[in-house]
């Protein structure tokens, strides 16, 4: 065998073809990844405009999602899902207890605000560290098993955390009522507050609740400090996730999902890899929990209930497990449903179908009504089933399929689509 690099036909490969894309990297990202990152930056920064497309007071204004509370939730649950995807999307280990880390992160965050300062940075750092430590313990034990046993172990840990937070640990969790900030909390860095004042989280004096409202004609756009801080944190988290996906470490995680036997017989110890992935994804959950506390300065144990763990599974699968952008889309989708579609009531529907003749309009309302408003869970469940059955790559795969229909001339699908198609191909 020669040292000369040759391809199949025997001709030398010009300086290793695959290294070519190493040259045009921006921020350490490949061209397509960087494009995707720019797109996400643009979407999050312009979200107050994008999410408020309808003028105030118009019939459609209830579809506006550009209010601070919901926008914060979009990005925070986006972080949660990005982190979950690092574990599930890459290694294939399905954790059914990830909400525990979110909850633990929240409790840690609120205690940092009670004991240290109302500044959100120490609080968020505490959330990440404590959730990471907790994930290390749970992961160390749960990862001794795989498959459904792993899922049940994580579920058991999360339910235990929930039950303890709800009962015995009441002194530090607030039990059923949850934890709130009080003016008399001993904040050793800030000093005490005036009696009767409401403690508000801030970033070096900038309050999370601070907002600037911009009126353009009939449109009203709200720019909220808390949202932008959470959005910047999400962008950092997203950037780090891209780096992890494209790193040797990320490739090893995919290798674990693909063939653990070969992994071990290639001299690699899969246990520390899965544990590291578990801890990283636990830290992401803790970060999300810390941000939730930073935004609304309260925690309740229901944040750790298994349905909350199920929700992040739904988000990740719906958007596209194993893809970069999928979990963010899934989180946005579900939070939009939860907050907007759930508000559609019978009279709204009647207004929509008013253009139809009497009987038909009633029929249309009757047909649509079970799926909106309080029935939004039904739509979500059906949608989720449809995705699992027909689109194992999630919405991202659906999008890339549509894209290939429209652009037959291009051979290569978009970056994201490729990952989704991969998953599909692996299952075929």
């Amino acid at each position: 065998m020669t040292d000369q690099v040759t391809n199949a036909s025997g001709a030398p490969i010009p300086a290793a073809q695959t290294r070519r894309d190493a040259r045009d990297r921006v921020l350490g990202l490949g061209k397509k990844d960087f494009g995707l990152f720019l797109l996400v930056i643009a979407l999050t920064m312009l979200a107050p405009f994008i999410l408020n497309p309808f003028p105030e007071g118009s019939a459609l204004s209830q579809f506006n999602a550009g209010y601070p509370d919901l926008m914060q939730r979009f990005v925070i649950f986006g972080i949660f899902a990005i982190g979950f995807n690092i574990l599930f999307g890459l290694t294939g280990y399905l954790s059914f207890g990830h909400a525990a880390f979110l909850g633990v992160g929240s409790y840690a965050g609120i205690w940092a605000m009670k004991l240290l300062t109302l500044n959100v940075i120490p609080s968020i750092v505490t959330s990440i560290v404590v959730a990471g430590l907790f994930a290390a313990i749970v992961g160390f034990i749960s990862l001794r098993r795989s498959g459904i046993y792993f899922s049940i172990l994580t579920l058991a840990f999360a339910m235990m955390s929930f039950a303890l937070a709800y009962s015995v640990l009441t002194p530090i969790t607030g039990g059923e009522t949850g934890m709130q900030l009080q003016y008399f909390d001993p904040r050793i860095l800030d000093g005490p507050l005036e009696p009767g004042t409401t403690p508000r989280a801030n970033l070096f004096g900038l309050e999370m609740a601070a907002s600037y409202q911009l009126e353009v004609g009939a449109w009203l756009f709200t720019f909220n400090a808390g949202y932008y801080i959470a959005a910047i944190v999400m962008l950092i988290a997203f950037y780090l996730a891209i780096r992890i996906f494209r790193s040797p470490f990320g490739m090893m995680l995919r290798a674990i999902k693909s063939n653990q036997q070969r992994m071990n017989y290639t001299g690699l110890n899969s246990k520390p890899y899965t544990l590291a992935a578990f801890i990283i994804s636990g830290m992401y959950a803790g970060l999300a929990g810390g941000l939730l506390v930073a935004m609304d300065t309260q925690v309740g144990a229901e944040r750790m209930f298994w349905t909350a763990s199920g929700e992040v599974v739904l988000m990740t699968i719906l958007g596209g497990a194993g893809t970069l952008i999928g979990p963010v889309l899934g989180a946005g989708f579900i939070k939009y449903f939860e907050n907007i579609v759930s508000k559609i009531n019978e009279s709204t529907l009647e207004a929509w179908f008013a253009f139809l003749p009497g009987g038909l309009s009633d029929a249309a309302v009757a047909v649509v009504y079970p799926f909106v408003g309080k029935g939004w869970h039904l739509t979500l469940g059906l949608l989720f089933m449809a995705v699992v059955i027909f689109l194992p790559g999630g919405l991202v795969q659906g999008g890339s399929k549509l894209a290939t229909v429209f652009r037959r001339d291009r051979n290569a699908g978009p970056v994201e689509g490729a990952a989704a198609e991969k998953r599909q191909a692996a299952e075929d």
């Binding site: 065998m1 391809n7 199949a8 490969i13 290793a16 695959t18 992890i244 290639t266 001299g267 191909a425």
Partner: protein, 253 residues
Amino acid sequence: MGILEVRDVSKRFGGLQALGDVNLSVAERSVHAIIGPNGAGKSTLLNCLVGKLIPDTGSVSFEGQSVLGRKPHEINQMGISRVFQTPEIFGDLTVLENMLIPCFAHRDGAFDLSAYANMMSDTEIVDRAEHALSDMRMADKRHMHAASLSRGDKRRLEIGMCLAQEPRLLLLDEPTAGMARADTNNTIDLLREIKETRPITICIIEHDMHVVFSLAERITVLAQGTPLVEDTPDRIKGHPKVREAYLGESSGH
């Protein structure tokens, strides 16, 4: 003293004596074949060598160090690579990524938390993987999904991945099982090339006598969990005990 020394290894599964006092010495840089009829204990022996099974008694040492009680990845890091009966590759990954993994494992060890670096900017590793691919004549398939390769290509890739770790001992478990004649011959040629160009010891478990006699320098015949004879291929061919073990009662005809 051979590179691989198996001393008095035995293994029972319940009432079945799968291996009984197996002694085996594989000389460095040789091609050693282990043959035997079905149920002779070939696979059990192999699993004892790579840490998948722990023998009840005896010792297994590689380059003077015991392998017993070590996990498969530790044994691999000692310099033993294993090729499976059905190719075990990373089906969801591309061919190039399949090749990158052993290159990383060889350089960085059993665990490396480089979660921030880009794997494709590691020119040392990428070059090595590209080399390994061209050695296997698979460079043009680098972006294909490993799962979509033909059976013969999967086998080549798996062998290439093992070689990329520069092992000193390569264990092959029936590498041509279920292959068409052409693929079998390609595999024989590939293994022969490996033997001639690399400082490597090859230990092969095989059913197909064509493969064994084309490659092996020494052959151990295993029957009912114990080595029957060990000798050169020429002598094994005519050995009465071997005929008896393989042909069983039909030897009387």
